[in-house]
Amino acid sequence: MKALVWHGKQDIRCDRVSDPEIEDPRDAIIKVTSCAICGSDLHLFHNLIPAMLPGDIMGHEMMGEVVEVGSTAKNALRKGDRIVVPFTIICGECDQCKRGNFSVCERTNRKKALADKVFGHTTAGLFGYTHLTGGYPGGQAEYLRVPFADATHIKVPPQLSDEQALFLGDILPTGWQAAAQCDIAPTDIVAIWGCGPVGQMAIRSAMLLGARTVVAIDHLPERLSMAEAAGAITIDFMQDSVVGRLNDLTDGKGPDKCIDAVGLEAHVSPAQPDSVLDRAKQMLMLENDRPHVLREMIYVCRPAGVISVPGVYSGLVDKLPLGMAMNKGLTFRMGQTHVNRWTDDLLRRIEEGQIDPSFVITHTVRLEDGPEMYRVFRDKQDSCIKVVLKP
């Protein structure tokens, strides 16, 4: 089959690889009908997440048709079922899964010993991600083996198109969880950094959850226009002072809730001098991440507010003003998304027409064009916001 394979920093190729096979009775194999490139894939593309290996198949946002089912998975899935695969692999039975903490499932990371050493405790297995999370082959491919498939799936009703359902596997619940973790009250002003696909979903989620005002921050005009489409007030961080504007918009009080939908690759520019220093340290391997947005959020957030972090961070960060956060009494919520905690509710909202996540798709191309689209998405060319690949 064809698959997008990681060969090294910025080197992704559309290779011919052998087909996946059922390895365990709980497995299923799907024929991928649609998959997408995620902002997290860019961190892998840039080799900023440790423990990727040449030959790893990319992709963790995918859906398709079940073509083979292991003997145990047969209890939940049948050939021909149409499913979205959540990017977090879940057993559905462990202590954490029972509490709905799916992204920290205790059983699905097959490199548990390694993860225990590096993170202190293992987290869930993830598709198309580092070997610290199991190194499972991803779904930017024609076929995908879904481990623990009896639990790791979301069934899609036939009336929904691929485009409407696909993002249930990652960015929609990610934006939703980011907003839900803010415990939004009807009086709240929610500020969201980053208007990429995750930011766009977070903006709409915050609105559906009843925020009074949503403010969206980015510097790319096409992304800001998409934020405006939802009714957000926008700030271009290259034109305006983010702190100044946010204080103006909140009578000097600061936003009640802040969401970081940027993560470890904050834009580098002399206008944000700390980002230049972080970049230099990153290159010299003195720091893993560029936490400019975290610093800005801690500074501007209203005391007793919430900081919610769906943006991915990989390791060590410097100069985080923890004293400021402590004295302001801020609450931090973060994590990889507990996808299946939210998907029943979100599927219903899509069916009811409350939200249609396909609004974010700007490019649909063949799988073979994937390597080129990684570059286009990374370089923010052609007003690209979200790429869907059709194997």
Binding site: D11, D15, V17, P54
Partner: protein, 167 residues
């Protein structure tokens, strides 16, 4: 790279997909050229750092060993930049460095025929590499820059039933 993938196969389970045939990469010509220049820069930097005394003798620059060593550090820094995810900055810094190298060589105070020959040869080499750096920088910029006008997505609310009521 495919050799590395083969080696990495040991971290995979027995029945997992393996590469059979490798296809077109996201890395394009200018990206590869930048990587080549990056490694070249680092190699040259190491030579300048460790062999400053010999270089000074060859070019009639005795007494300026410290300058050669500092150029070595500069080459290594530019090289790291060229190997980074934003190679254009590293190549730009190489172009600045090329200019300095040319000026420094022209100012060399040669006392022997041999030294003069060496300097001429070095000038030629630096001029050649400068052209390559300029070409690479231009190609990188045109490959990676944002082009055209930004599209307007203000018709994409994502709320089929209409926007939730705010304020």
């Amino acid at each position: 790279m495919t050799i590395l993938a083969r080696a990495a196969d040991r971290a995979r389970s027995a029945r997992e997909p393996r590469i059979l045939e490798t296809g077109r990469s996201s890395l394009r010509g200018p990206d590869r050229l930048a990587r080549g220049l990056g490694w070249f820069s680092i190699a040259l930097g190491v030579i300048e750092l460790l062999g400053a005394r010999r270089l000074a003798r060859a070019f009639g620059m005795q007494g300026a060993e410290w300058l050669i060593r500092s150029y070595g550090v500069r080459e290594i820094a530019s090289g790291l930049g060229a190997l980074s995810i934003n190679p254009a900055s590293g190549i730009a810094s190489r172009i600045g460095g090329d200019g300095l190298d040319l000026l420094t060589l022209m100012a060399a105070n040669c006392r022997t025929r041999k030294q003069r020959d060496n300097v001429e040869l070095a000038l030629l080499a630096v001029a050649g590499v400068s052209l390559l750096d300029l070409y690479c920088h231009q190609e990188l910029s045109s490959l990676h820059q944002r082009r055209g006008t930004a599209r307007d997505y203000r018709d994409r609310s994502g709320f089929p039933n209409g926007k939730p009521k705010l304020e």
